[in-house]
């Protein structure tokens, strides 16, 4: 567990902010406070925050808006976010939860409830991070090599070899080849491939146009006969696949 997680609390009511700080600090958390969304964003940019607790009704930028901004930023998307609001109508709570907020607590809040939610969400985000790391590790160690006949792709070292000949590929070319190899001979559509190689969502025509030079370049470097195991096959009208042993 990380040492002394830090929590950002956002509320325009100064007295409330003070009391929550007391409670959280007494439970050994480091607390940052902000009285509006803009201040909160500033803090997020400069400090490492492990959990956010925010009111909803606030001037200039309300809690919903703050939540959306936080989720839009890749750096902060994994930070658990809790609403603490005096808006307690069923419709309010439904709305907040539908946004995907991690929890929705209502005022007045009991100390025990606040702490339980905080502890729970911090534990959850730690769990998520842990399982992600474990997954990545297991993928790495178990499937370090992808092969297709004499073609060998080293995922860790980003090296491609044919028999003993090393084939130098660019990063994008490697991504393409590795992805096709992972699909174990299944046909992949151009739109799917372009998402992987270019992080682009587009129509099949543009996808095909963008992919063509990349495919050509890889083929040239692989220098394999059409249909040979390890070569890239174009399945007309559907997509591309890596030819694997039958």
């Amino acid at each position: 567990m990380r040492a002394m997680p830090s929590i950002l609390v956002v509320d325009d009511e100064a007295d409330l902010l003070e009391q929550i700080t007391l409670i959280l600090e007494a439970d050994d958390y480091r607390v940052f406070t902000a009285s509006n969304g803009l201040e909160a964003l500033k803090i997020l940019h400069t400090e490492q925050v492990h959990l956010i607790i925010a009111d909803i009704a606030m001037p200039d930028m309300n809690g919903y808006q703050l939540y959306t901004r936080v989720r839009e930023n890749l750096e902060w998307v994994t930070i658990p976010f809790i609403f603490l609001s005096a808006r307690t109508m069923d419709s309010d709570i439904r709305f907040g939860k539908e946004m995907g907020v991690d929890d929705y607590l209502t005022k007045p809040i009991r100390v025990a409830d606040l702490l339980a939610a905080v502890r729970g969400k911090l534990r959850r985000s730690q769990q998520l991070a842990d399982s992600l790391t474990q997954l990545k590790q297991s993928q790495g160690s178990g499937a370090r090599f992808l092969t297709a006949g004499e073609l060998q792709i080293d995922l860790d070292q980003h090296k491609v070899t044919w028999q003993d000949r090393e084939i130098k590929l660019s990063a994008r070319e490697f991504t393409l080849l590795a992805y096709l190899a992972r699909q174990a001979g299944k046909v992949v559509s151009p739109t799917e491939l372009i998402q992987v190689t270019h992080q682009l969502e587009t129509d099949p025509i543009e996808a095909g146009t963008l992919l063509r030079p990349l495919i050509l370049s890889v083929r040239r470097k692989l220098d394999l006969a059409e249909g040979e195991v390890g070569s890239i096959e174009n399945v007309r009208g559907v997509g591309y696949r890596l030819v694997i042993p039958a």
Partner: protein, 134 residues
Amino acid sequence: MKPQPAILVVDDEPDMLENLSLALQVADYPHLTAKDGLEALEILQTQPIQLILSDIVMPRMNGYQLYQQVRENPLWGAIPFIFVTGCWLNSEICYGKELGVDDYLVKPVKANYLIAVIQGKLRRAQQLAKAADQ
């Protein structure tokens, strides 16, 4: 387009399972049911599951134990887990939340509330999955 993974509903009371099933049906969510934790684990082994709704008090393996089992497997670590339970005591709610469960709903649960929670958790899971791929 790959088929949407199902929601897994775990409850030892058949009436409750039916209720939840109906609510999910109306909202167009494919779902599977299990009457206890062991059955649930079996299903998890063989089917892709995108969210779990679980009771707490169940025979053979209760909700807390199921939750621990699910979280211990890194393959299932990202699946949102929601308690839907009759345990309404504040101490019980705090206990459940502290475990890190994604949400804790006390029965009886209104259908529109349940669906809103599920939508939110799925949205969140998507966000996290996308972030993990980066």
